[in-house]
């Protein structure tokens, strides 16, 4: 991980310095300012010359900054992907609406997407999700009224096998959450309580009618509840139809948060897979239990 920039802005200053020292920048500023100054003077007099002479260097510098910012972001994501053994998707895919978060709002898009191995047998996708809520204006056009950002890790835990348990959602409690889970979770999702005050202060656990409450209880064992209640990132997760989505609010753009979120996804995946295997083994040994 040593070659990975620590965050998405880490190399921006270096790129900006390089751009400002480049010949392209110097030519653009000198020639642009001269041409714009002369043209401004011819058209609007001294004030036009001043505006042209200052405006072009300012615009070129802004462009250099935006370019440096973009390149720093590319450095970061490519470096992170390399360190994790992931691949960056230049054109992020459209995720099917596996879970409530991936089906939330009126439109969803991924603005970043990396894919690679999570553990020995499963792959994960890591990305930035934007959920948009739209309203219809008086003239009939769709107007974007709100967009919410999440960093998500998506894992196909059961690899297309018959899902062990479906419809378990652990959402962080947030006082000022613009995308209220109540609005996009299925209406019949039932709220369950755990025995931990710390967990209850931090999360809301819900289960859809499809989810076997006994399995949900077994999954949310004391060690898992305690682990979630003390996790520094307070990641939420949704598990439905064998697909796990681990998420946190906002677009994380630092290596620490992203790898930590990926680790959380790895841990949750391992717990779900272990519980599923244990239940299947028990059912195979005692068919009456199944």
């Amino acid at each position: 991980m040593s070659a990975v920039p620590s965050h998405a802005d880490a190399t921006r200053a270096a790129h900006l310095r390089a751009a400002l020292r480049s010949r392209t920048y110097a030519y653009a500023v000198v020639l642009g300012a001269t041409v714009a100054g002369v043209a401004g003077a011819a058209l609007w007099g001294p004030m036009g010359a001043l505006a042209g002479g200052l405006g072009v260097p300012a615009a070129v510098t802004l462009w250099a900054f935006a370019h440096a910012d973009h390149r720093a972001e590319e450095d970061f994501w490519r470096g992170l992907a390399r360190a994790l053994g992931f691949v960056v998707h230049a054109d992020p895919p459209e995720l099917p609406a596996f879970t409530p978060l991936l089906a939330a709002g009126d439109a969803r898009r991924l603005v970043r997407w990396l894919e690679g191995p999570l553990d020995g047998e499963r792959r994960a996708g890591l990305g930035h999700l934007v959920v948009e809520e739209r309203d219809r204006a008086r003239d009939g056009r769709d107007v974007r009224v709100r967009s919410t950002e999440h960093t998500v890790v998506v894992v196909d835990v059961e690899g297309g096998a018959a899902p062990w348990c479906s419809g378990v959602h652990v959402h962080p409690r947030r006082l000022l959450d613009p995308l209220r889970p109540d609005g996009w979770l299925p209406r019949d999702a039932e709220r369950l309580a755990t025995e931990s005050t710390a967990f209850e202060e931090r999360y809301v656990l819900r289960a859809e009618p499809d989810a076997d409450p006994v399995k949900v209880r077994r999954l949310l064992s004391p060690s898992f509840v305690d682990w979630l209640a003390r996790h520094p990132l307070a990641p939420g997760f949704e598990y439905r139809a064998g697909v796990l989505v681990v998420f946190r609010a906002g677009h994380a753009a630092d290596a620490g948060s992203l790898t930590f979120l990926l680790d959380a996804a790895r841990e949750i995946t391992a717990r779900i897979a272990a519980q599923a295997t244990q239940d299947r083994d028990a059912a195979a040994a005692d068919p009456a239990r199944a």
Binding site: E195, S196, T197, A198, S221, S223, D226, A229
Partner: protein
């Protein structure tokens, strides 16, 4: 007349506050009890594992009768213990006795190689993890409950209602209790 309304309003507000505080304390107390039952489940699971573990090791170390008797006695005491304080002491003893049995098993490579023993050991380790997690959850709930009971104005309601202080559940770690050997030079 205005004064009467003000007094009635204040009384109504006070009554509402007392009801809210009381309900909050009841919820906190119930959560402590719920967390205690969570510990109980895990401890029972450990109790259930003891006979299997003893049976597995006994087959290889029949002569270590004292160790087996100690663990059997510790299990019986732990199962009979009632209050969290007594339970903590008894469970700590059982933990130490189990550690002795596991240490004994370490001396028999053939036993360690058996699938059954490996499975039992893994199950025991998992159960110990769950006990520690359940204990942290219980102690966290007790702390939240005690804080509620002791802060003003909750303390007034708590002192006059069925809200006894709840004890923390502390298990001593057998590994930590072992005294480090003194090395003389």
């Amino acid at each position: 007349m205005t004064l009467l309304y003000v007094v009635l309003g204040l009384l109504a507000l006070t009554a509402l506050a007392v009801v809210l505080i009381h309900n909050g304390l009841v919820a906190a107390r119930n959560r402590v009890d719920e967390a205690w039952s969570g510990i109980d489940v895990q401890l029972r699971r450990r109790h259930d594992l003891v006979p299997n573990l003893v049976a597995a090791v006994r087959g290889y170390a029949e002569h270590e009768r004292a160790t087996f008797e100690a663990v059997t006695h510790a299990r019986a005491t732990a199962m009979a213990a009632g209050s969290p304080e007594h339970r903590a002491v008894a469970e700590s003893r059982l933990g130490r006795a189990l550690a002795d049995v596991t240490a004994l098993a370490e001396q028999y490579p053939e036993l360690r190689a058996t699938e059954n023993f490996g499975h039992l050991q893994a199950e025991l380790a998992r159960t110990e993890d769950e006990i520690q997690a359940a204990r942290r959850i219980y102690n966290g709930n007790v702390q939240a409950y005690l804080t509620r009971c002791q802060t003003f104005p909750n303390s007034i309601v708590a002192a006059n209602g069925p809200f006894p202080p709840k004890p923390y559940f502390e298990l001593t770690d057998p590994e930590r209790e072992r005294v480090a050997p003194v090395v003389a030079f």
